[in-house]
């Protein structure tokens, strides 16, 4: 079955630096990938979607890339701020059906 791995459970960076989070998937190639933000005790919030024919997508300080050869998506937050501290989840649609597959998440801490 499809599996998503996110490179690290936790990532600490200094304010102002760029945070880079990795999402790797196995088996089939999804038509698109999504990134969500989850704050403690709250529901995930959609951030960005990137399709398989797009190399890069940007939204304000966020940038997502999608490399179907490496089966990997990178999620970047530039000029990071303490308010960016949260868990970031990678997700993709199923090969068939409606079961979105979520990765385990990377907990980002931006230190002032």
């Amino acid at each position: 079955s499809q599996k998503i791995e996110q490179n690290s459970e936790a990532l600490n960076i200094q304010e102002g630096k760029t945070a880079t989070l990795t999402c790797n998937y196995t088996n089939y190639s999804p038509a698109y990938l999504q990134w969500y933000r989850q704050d403690p005790g709250r529901g995930p919030v959609f951030l960005l979607l990137i399709r398989e024919n797009e190399k890069e997508k940007r939204k304000e300080r966020l940038k997502v890339t999608f490399d179907t050869t490496l089966k990997q998506s990178l999620f970047h937050i530039t000029a990071s701020q303490p308010a960016d501290s949260a868990t970031y989840l990678c997700a993709h649609p199923p090969d068939y059906g409606q079961n979105f597959v979520f990765g385990p998440g990377t907990r980002l801490s931006v230190l002032p």
Partner: protein, 118 residues
């Protein structure tokens, strides 16, 4: 901005009791879901619901679980006889489009219902 609302925010129950978690999805959405997240673990799919019937369910969603859309707005998850391992945060989500379609199935999540089974 439209949002998914869930009640209760926290429920404590005794093992073996029935629990109903309620959700009001976004009004023009057609696809509804329940996900579960055990503390410290990943978000896990339970069930999806479309056109007034279950469209897909996971292995977690056994005979103790059921879903219903009793009217045009509410979407409920019932756990018939709760077990200790059912303790988790339960998230309701809805989407305008099917995840597997050509249009993106961005999920809108509620804030969750934390279930504690004693």
């Amino acid at each position: 901005e439209p949002e998914v609302t869930q009640t209760p925010s926290h429920q404590v129950t005794q093992m073996g009791q029935e629990v109903i978690l309620r959700c009001v999805p976004i009004s023009n959405h057609l696809y509804f879901y329940w996900y579960r997240q055990i503390l410290g673990q990943k978000v896990e799919f339970l069930v999806s619901f479309y056109n007034n019937e279950i469209s897909e369910k996971s292995e977690i969603f056994d005979d103790q679980f059921s879903v219903e859309r009793p009217d045009g707005s509410n979407f409920t998850l019932k756990i018939r006889s709760t077990k200790l391992e059912d303790s988790a945060m339960y998230f309701c989500a809805s989407s305008e489009f099917s995840p597997g379609g050509s249009l993106s199935g961005e999920l809108f999540f509620g804030e969750g219902s934390r279930l504690t089974v004693l």
